[in-house]
């Protein structure tokens, strides 16, 4: 008797560790871990091309990680928040950096005025990194750092800090966002020109592949592309194309595909068009598996399984009647879960006006907990698989994405790496995203798309607003003073020598810059000094302003 796909799935499912829960409906109907055709044919989760999920057991083994993003003020403020998260059972830290840090500027840079510690934590030197993770066992938790242009330098500070505190780099687990391509396309926090930035990404991928087996080197992010105004299919296509570009970059540097591909992860948006989002995640898994196997020759299962983090769409939230945002976020979060996300951040209802208050952030987390523990939606993997509608929409997402890949492949003369860089240099991505954003705005304006409380159902929209978090400028002065003390307390000759080495090595594209950056970090070289030294060799990127 031949084994059906369901038999294969069942074998793998039965070998998985399962969590303790009552997997039946509220009225006592027992539920299977996944459903499919009666004859056992069809696709199952954990099987190539993974449309229905990367793992056979999905949420029966482990619910998604409720990873809430935090960071504010100085390093010791955020350290206090991290310790609270660990105490309350949080299983991962996620670090938000302030705007000057994201752009590689020191807190005393004139351009940093008014921005220090405002949207995240300010990191200038190793001293701040030491405070940020003081008293936290970095071998026992995972750390996610949302940083891109200065990712290599911040990562170097993180490694130097951990090793000084006694944790060897090989034991560090976590994720560096490190997705520079989407910065030029959408988020716009760039420093160096694209090709020079890609050299730093290559260096971090090679370095982690060789020395840090528990580290995710790049979190390939569609979130910002969607927030900047793209359609769902553009988010899908541009994100995966960027992923292919990083794969080609690392292969060009001589790394075997299966040595680094298992450590690439993804980050998608969950917008308000419920079924389209679910179709997008399903298509993403299928496309990634096929391209990695067929085009890039990956063989390890872990290389083919796309795993992703989701954040609900900040841009879908309204300043009018903000409490209604709780409903939007719940619907978006549900799409992420039905789409099989591995981790999830839910936005707070005040996102359209300010950083969240403690109360609004708690409601956002409670939203995930209601979905996880009350609704039973996590009992069955890919519950919409097999729906004529969702399968057709998944195929359509894939078709649109393949069209965009074909364009980029042609633009790059057979290389997605070259296609993505050319697409940035020619403003192709930026233009497509701006066109889609304007088209959507047109539909809001003519009423073709409804936003409750904004262009329809406006009774109550002029009520006085809710209480918002106010951030003062006190942290800015405190951080500047602290940086000044570090500058005066360090061995300046050692700093100068480290920067001279960094400049010399940057000029030779064959050298991996991570060792020189870690050495500079250990000598309390500031982030701004490292970035300015690199800019002296790499130059700076200036975007041609287009409307």
């Amino acid at each position: 008797m031949t084994r059906t796909p369901r038999d294969v799935w069942r074998e793998e499912f039965e070998a998985s560790r399962l969590r303790e829960a009552d997997f039946s409906t509220m009225s006592g109907v027992p539920l299977a871990p996944v459903y499919g055709p009666a004859d056992g044919s069809g696709d199952y989760p954990g099987q190539y091309p993974y449309t229905r999920g990367p793992y056979a057991s999905m949420y029966r083994s482990k619910l998604w990680t409720m990873r809430m993003f935090a960071g504010f003020g100085t390093a010791d403020d955020t350290n206090w928040r991290f310790k609270e998260i660990i105490k309350s059972g949080g299983d991962g830290l996620s670090t938000a950096f302030d705007m000057p840090t994201l752009l590689g500027l020191d807190s005393d840079d004139p351009m940093a005025l008014g921005e220090v510690g405002r949207c995240g934590v300010a990191i200038d030197t190793l001293a701040d990194m030491e405070d940020l993770y003081a008293g936290i066992d970095l071998a026992a938790t995972t750390t996610s750092m949302t940083i891109n242009s200065p990712a290599a330098a911040i990562f170097a500070m993180f490694i130097a800090q951990a090793e000084k505190a006694g944790t060897p780099r090989a034991r560090l687990g976590g994720t560096l966002q490190n997705d520079i391509l989407k910065e030029y396309q959408a988020q716009k926090e760039f420093v160096f020109p694209p090709r020079q930035s890609m050299r730093l990404v290559r260096d971090t991928i090679s370095f982690t592949a060789a020395e840090m087996p528990r580290w995710h080197s790049v979190s390939i992010s569609g979130y910002h592309i969607r927030e900047a105004g793209s359609t769902a299919a553009e988010e899908l296509a541009f994100t995966l194309a960027n992923g292919f570009a990083y794969v080609e970059l690392a292969m060009k540097a001589g790394l075997p595909i299966d040595s680094f591909a298992p450590r690439l992860s993804f980050f998608f948006n969950a917008h308000i068009d419920f079924f389209e989002e679910i179709a997008k995640y399903r298509a993403a898994r299928r496309i990634w598996a096929r391209w990695l196997r067929e085009r890039y020759g990956a063989q390890l299962e872990r290389s083919l399984q796309l795993r992703f983090h989701t954040q609900t769409a900040g841009v879908s939230l309204t300043a009018q009647q903000p409490e209604v945002n709780i409903v939007r976020t719940a619907i978006e979060a549900l799409a992420g879960v039905l789409g099989g996300t591995q981790s999830l951040h839910t936005n707070s209802m005040d996102e359209a006006m300010a950083l969240p208050t403690e109360k609004s952030a708690r409601i956002a987390l409670r939203t995930q907990q209601v979905i996880a523990y009350e609704t039973n939606v996590a009992h069955v993997a890919d519950p919409l698989g097999g729906s004529f509608f969702v399968e057709a929409l998944t195929d359509e997402m894939e078709r649109q994405a393949e069209e965009l890949f074909a364009h980029l492949d042609e633009l790059g003369g057979g290389s997605l790496l070259e296609g993505c860089i050319k697409g940035i240099e020619d403003n192709w991505f930026q233009g497509r995203i701006a066109d889609s954003a304007f088209e959507l705005e047109r539909k809001f304006n003519n009423g073709q798309r409804v936003v409750v409380g904004v262009n329809r159902f406006k009774e109550g929209s002029d009520e006085r607003g809710m209480e918002l978090l106010e951030i003062t400028n006190e942290d800015e002065a405190r951080q500047r003073k602290r940086l000044d003390a570090v500058r005066h307390g360090r061995d300046q000759a050692a700093v100068d020598a480290a920067l001279a080495t960094l400049a010399a090595e940057a000029a030779d594209p064959e050298i991996n810059l991570m060792p020189a950056l870690i050495d500079a970090a250990a000598r309390y070289v500031t982030l701004g000094e490292m970035m300015n030294t690199l800019a002296g060799v790499f130059g700076r990127h200036v975007e041609v302003p287009t409307i």
Binding site: E115, C119, V315, Q320, G465
Partner: protein, 131 residues
């Protein structure tokens, strides 16, 4: 001759979705629109406003630094003898609107403002200046 509007992003805030949408709305409404691009300072915005001899300056601010940066742009422009009105759009809490107006900002737009209201207010601000 159509009126000239300078639309700018000041400081480190890279959110440029809204600024591009507003630039297109104003262009479609018949204004001549100049977009500065990202990462401008109050001084570079003021210099561009003088060089381009614009009739109005629009700033897009979504990172929370508006109370520091918008008044600085107004001050830099006035110091250079440029009296064009300044309007601000973005994530601006309601209780900051009056503080911006006290600092010389002529109008504040928040998310969800319809295109026609935007155009109407810009025309009204320009008309008030001309009077």
């Amino acid at each position: 001759m159509s009126e000239r509007v300078l639309i700018g992003k000041v400081g480190l805030d890279g959110h440029d979705r809204g600024v591009k949408v507003v630039a297109r709305i104003l262009r479609d409404a018949g204004f001549e629109v100049i977009y500065t691009g990202l990462f401008q300072t109050p001084a570079t915005i003021a210099a561009a406003a003088v060089d381009e001899d614009v009739d109005l300056v629009g700033l897009s601010m979504l990172s929370g630094a508006h109370l520091t940066l918008a008044p600085a742009v107004v001050a830099e422009m006035r110091a250079r003898g440029c009296n064009a009105p300044v309007v601000v759009g973005g994530i601006i809490p309601e209780h900051h609107h009056q503080r911006l107006k006290d600092a010389g900002v002529a109008a504040v737009f928040t998310p969800g403002a319809p295109a026609e209201e935007l155009v109407r207010t810009v025309r009204a601000v320009l008309a008030a200046e001309g009077a």
